[in-house]
């Protein structure tokens, strides 16, 4: 079972976990994902790769508490174990030298664009990175991105830090300035990715996104992760997770992601109100948006 080296809170509902998975790390490439299972009764949950320490065989994942599984993960102490971590899964992000490339990361999506930033940079691209979050206290990885990007823009929805506004506002300005960008990769909440691709469609700038539908096995066997691209069905686990954003049916993705909303909520509320619940108070404070 993979050993948890540390598991640190990095925001109100965000955590960073480092796992000892040398085999997986030696094989993983930017843009791939893993599937974890916290314990014997746990579900299988896909997680983006937020960092690969190849020297020490350590995988970093950054996760947000959104339900029972992620809440349980926060309770795994350094030195503890999780039941499984399988991968690397999916097709690695396509990397080439486009001259100038742009990465857009929103919210928890700031994490998976980090290994991609390193890969884009290594391929010789001039790299423009835009990261954004609702508020300053949710931001993370600014230093990491600063170290890789040629230009880094930081924004917050509420203006508490950096540019006041959305990542798409910054991207629009860059595109309006006539910067010749060969490839944009955007990862973040579905509404953010949708806004970004709607914007770049007007500029005819190639834009890829990394999709995060629900999965079970992650190897093509179940077909639960179906996404639709210009009417054609693809399995995100083996055909993706990266797809041409201009073709993605985001409406379908949004709805499929909510397929188990009721059950997830039921499981979480049952878990949090259990008298034996040993979660930290900060996690117990979790509330579903109304």
């Amino acid at each position: 079972m993979p050993k948890v080296l540390d598991n640190l809170q990095i925001g109100p509902m965000n955590w960073k976990m480092r796992l000892e998975t040398p085999k997986l790390v030696s094989k993983a490439k930017a843009g791939q994902f893993v599937i974890i299972r916290v314990n014997e009764r746990g579900e299988r949950v896909p997680m983006s790769i937020a960092g690969l320490d190849r020297e020490n065989g350590v995988l970093t994942i950054i996760y947000q508490v959104v339900g029972k599984t992620s809440a349980l993960m926060t309770a795994t102490p350094a030195g503890g174990e999780i039941a499984d971590c399988v991968g690397p899964l999916g097709v690695p992000t396509h990397v080439e030298n486009w001259g100038t490339a742009c990465l857009v990361g929103g919210g928890i999506g700031i994490a998976p664009i980090y290994p991609i930033a390193q890969a884009y940079k290594e391929a010789g691209n001039k790299l423009i990175t835009i990261i954004g979050a609702r508020s300053k206290n949710i931001l993370f990885y600014e230093e990491e991105h600063k170290a890789v990007a040629d230009e880094l823009y930081v924004c917050t929805d509420d203006g508490s830090y950096g540019h006041h506004g959305f990542v798409s506002d910054v991207l629009k300005k860059i595109l309006d300035d006539g910067v010749d960008i060969g490839m944009i990769m955007a990862i973040g909440p579905v509404p953010m990715m949708r806004v970004v691709v709607n914007l770049t469609r007007e500029y005819k700038t190639p834009t890829w996104v990394s999709l995060n539908p629900l999965m079970v096995d992650g190897t093509g066997m179940c077909g639960g992760c179906r996404v639709s691209l210009d009417g054609e069905t693809k399995f995100a686990c083996v055909d993706g997770p990266d797809f041409d954003g201009h073709k993605v049916d985001f409406d379908l993705l949004t709805k499929r992601l909510a397929a188990y909303g009721k059950q997830e909520r039921q499981a979480m509320e049952r878990f949090l109100t259990d008298p034996g619940c040993k979660l930290a108070e900060s996690v117990k404070a979790f509330k579903y948006p109304d």
Binding site: R44, D84, V86, V216, G224
Partner: protein, 476 residues
């Protein structure tokens, strides 16, 4: 020869009926449906064997179990010895006794069943009886293991093919490691076949025996991703068996198929079986519990899915199949069980479109009636749509059980591995050797969707050929 009965008297004995949970009760639980024969019944059933000279049952079995010999051991009341007799050629009797289509194999050719009004000896029931007896009474003995050969074998996939190869090769003194992509071994035996037809504790017990014999299980390892076939060779494995099973689920490609509430049978069964979603929220994996559930298809997987739907609380569970009952590939016993439990059959019917609500949840499907036309390439009469026969079925859950295509993970990452036009690995029928030296393959990844026993049979053939290869061509 312990059966003192005259042949005529043996012919008069009726085939024993296996006691089972009554339909009304069992459709509300996931416990196994048949209870197994009692000892008394097993003795009566065994005495029906005519001990005919031709022994056609042996040839009728894909792995050539010495059926008359094990039946004779039952009559001697040495049930554990009977189980061991079966295990000489079939490592998985408790499983095969439950899920083999005996009516198309050993029992189809049984002489007892050939006479007027005759019914064949219930070989499958007897197989299950002795295997359960041996396991439940802790009489399982580890087979003798040959001295170490110094050769290493990797088995990719832990379904019936892989488990058979592992069992056979470890006995011959080779070091065997199984690589399984999921977190628990057993392949289709654990993710696909439901608990009520094959209890998971039985699969685990079979895997435990292999582990006791020295087989190493490496779960959560996706060959083709975590390591490739070539990397397994670099790691020192001398031969590799690929038994990765049927891979990607087929969908029909009709409008609305990605609505919420339309599952592949693989996903539906995996959620319920492997992930135990039927026990949500004790287990964390959710599943959609439909009230009006349509399962598309006529195979065993379709029957497993529709009976699962009943157990998850469906008011109406339908089989929707485009041909007639005669063409259904499912075992007669499974169709019978489904009918007993109240499954409704919509035959000669095919969906052409789905409708969803505002949340994109499926709420209805439009269907067409079919009629049977001329026979197609498979020899079965081709279903032809009847124009203007469109009608609407209200459904809130649909399970698509129309087969699988091959999973490409191994093929894509193994240069020189020949595949056919469907993407299935090409293997020599007599050795299961692939186009790559030292790489063997068997089961659904070679044949496309088939049965547990055919996969186990392919594993047998492969193990024999791999042993020869390891001893003659791998120098140590």
């Amino acid at each position: 020869m312990v059966n003192k009965l005259e042949k005529k008297e043996r012919m008069k004995i009726l085939r024993q009926k296996m006691p089972e949970q009554p339909p009304e009760e069992r459709k509300k639980n996931f416990k196994e449906v048949p209870f197994g024969l009692t000892e008394e019944q097993a003795l009566i059933e065994a005495s029906r064997c005519l001990e005919c000279k031709k022994e056609p049952c042996i040839a009728g079995c894909p792995v050539e179990v010495d059926i008359p010999a094990f039946i004779d051991l039952i009559l001697q009341k040495d049930y554990a010895a009977a189980a061991r007799k079966i295990k000489e050629t079939n490592s998985l009797p408790a499983i095969c006794g439950r899920v083999c289509p005996q009516e198309e194999q050993c029992e189809m050719v049984c002489i007892t069943g050939k006479s007027k009004k005759g019914t064949p000896v219930a070989i499958g029931y007897l197989e299950r009886f002795v295997a359960d007896y041996e396991r439940e009474n802790n009489l399982v003995q580890l087979p003798e293991i040959a001295p170490s050969s110094g050769r290493k074998v990797a088995v990719v996939g832990s379904g019936p093919a892989g488990l058979t190869v592992a069992g056979d090769l470890i006995k011959l003194g080779h070091q065997v490691t199984i690589f399984e992509a999921l977190h628990r071994p057993g392949g289709v035996l654990v993710y696909g076949i439901p608990e009520f037809r094959l209890p998971k504790s039985i699969v685990q017990a079979e895997c435990d025996v292999l582990a006791d014999m020295g087989v190493k299980f490496n779960n959560s390892m996706v060959i083709g991703k975590t390591d490739t076939v070539d990397e397994l060779f670099e790691m020192g494995y001398d031969a590799i068996f690929v038994g990765t099973g049927a891979g990607l689920p087929n969908f029909m490609g009709i409008p609305g198929e990605n609505l919420i509430g339309i599952y592949s049978s693989n996903e539906y069964l995996t959620r319920s079986n492997l992930m135990r979603a039927f026990d949500f929220p004790i287990y964390d994996t959710p599943i959609i519990r439909g009230k009006n559930v349509a399962v598309l298809g006529g195979g065993n997987t379709a029957m497993d899915s529709v009976r699962t739907a009943l157990r998850l609380g469906a008011d109406n569970a339908y089989i929707v199949y485009r041909r007639s009952e005669k063409e259904m590939p499912a075992r007669i016993e499974e169709i019978h069980h489904a009918k007993q439990e109240g499954v409704q059959f919509h035959l000669l019917t095919t969906p052409i479109k789905y409708f969803g609500d505002d949340d994109s949840k499926v709420k209805a499907m439009e269907c067409l009636r079919m009629e049977l036309g001329e026979p197609d390439a498979s020899g079965r009469r081709r279903p032809v749509p009847i124009e203007g026969s469109n009608f609407i079925m209200e459904v809130d859950l649909v399970v698509v059980a129309i087969g699988n295509s091959s999973n490409p993970l191994i093929q894509q990452t193994t240069p020189g591995l020949e595949v056919n036009k469907w993407g299935n690995i090409v293997a020599n029928e007599e050795t299961m050797q692939t186009s790559r030296k030292g790489v063997y393959a068997g089961g659904d990844i070679v044949t496309g969707g088939a049965t547990v026993i055919l996969a186990a049979g392919a594993g047998k053939i492969a193990a024999r050929a791999m042993h020869k290869y390891l001893m003659e061509e791998v120098k140590k």
